[in-house]
């Protein structure tokens, strides 16, 4: 019996070896293709991008990441969150609106001193006045009005903008704080856009 299993296993192994190129070989081929086809330009460095971080590696699968990976991502990413040093969470909603509108920053044609935007409208409805909003993420219209401004809600929202993967592993939302895309002040301004009763978001 044991023999049969072993030989079956051997058969299967040799079958796959013929039919499929091994995973290792595919990895290698892929890496080589990336290296030969992509090059550093301006502020985007090929070697930095191609060396994915652990989260990116776990999330680069055509299926769903394993439960184990998801838990590892949640744990590691929650630990990255940095709350505002002065304990103040809300900035200026008008500045926040500009950040939400801008998709600039971190592309190879952007300058090192380009002020990065959040590009929030690309994926979210926020203020009712902006018709050109995307739907990759949920609508944030009346965010503060609906959810209130309890300390928990404020802290949760901060953390979500700072590192969305602390809540949804492999989320499509950029990790704005953790990856240094937005500054602490910029996140405060976005928070105001979401929570300030005077913000058009809550009108």
């Amino acid at each position: 019996m044991k023999k049969i299993i072993v030989s079956l296993g051997f058969c299967a192994a040799s079958f796959f070896a013929v039919a499929l190129v091994s995973a290792d070989q595919t990895d290698k081929e892929f890496e080589e293709m990336l290296e030969s086809s992509l090059r550093s330009k301006g502020i985007v460095k090929a070697e930095e991008v191609l060396a994915q971080d652990d989260v990116q590696k776990k999330c680069s699968t055509s299926g769903v990441a394993s439960a184990e990976d998801m838990k590892a991502i949640l744990d590691s990413q929650l630990a990255t969150i940095v709350y505002p040093s002065d304990g103040k969470y809300l900035g200026d909603w008008k500045a926040g609106e500009k950040i939400a509108q801008s998709g600039k920053g971190r592309r190879f044609n952007d300058k090192p001193d380009t002020v990065n935007g959040g590009n929030c409208y690309a994926c979210h409805q926020i203020s009712k006045d902006e018709l050109a909003y995307g739907t990759i993420g949920p609508s944030l219209y009346q965010y503060g009005k609906i959810r209130g401004n309890s300390e928990e809600m404020i802290k949760y929202t901060w953390a979500k903008i700072f590192n969305a993967q602390a809540f949804v592993p492999c989320s499509y939302m950029p990790r704005y704080g953790h990856k240094g895309i937005l500054s602490e002040q910029q996140i405060k301004d976005l928070m105001a856009l979401l929570f300030d009763p005077e913000s058009p978001t809550n009108k």
Binding site: Q101, S102, G103, K104, G117, N119, Y121, A122, L131, A132
Partner: protein, 152 residues
Amino acid sequence: MNERRRAIIKSLSVYSMAVATGLMKPLSALAVDWEKKVFELSKLDDVIAALGGNFQVSDGVVLVASEIAENGAVVPISVESKLPNTDKIAILIENNPNPLSARFTIHDGTDPEVKTRVKMAGTSNVHAIARSDGKWFMATKEIKVTLGGCGG
């Protein structure tokens, strides 16, 4: 098909070369002159005044355009006049640096209807005007120019 197209291209090149070198006079020598001073005005009121004052709102002028433009660089506009003896049609974009975008002269036997595409600096009222028996009539529509794509 291919041969035909190529032949056309070749003959056209020869013809346009002849024009460029002055062997033939382009027809436009006969055409209306581009009226610099009206095209360079920056305020809608000044353009209206320069064209002869009051435009009367009229159903006889039909302006077809979408209320939202996906991109301000190309906004399709169609203007038709149902008014008698229409000899001029123009498109004014209120918030553009120079409101007068284009003006057309409709000769006898030509329908008073024109389709073109214009640039809009941002959301604005667009006025289509037509001159009938020497008087201007107008139709207006607000066109919203939106941001598109991933660039923001």
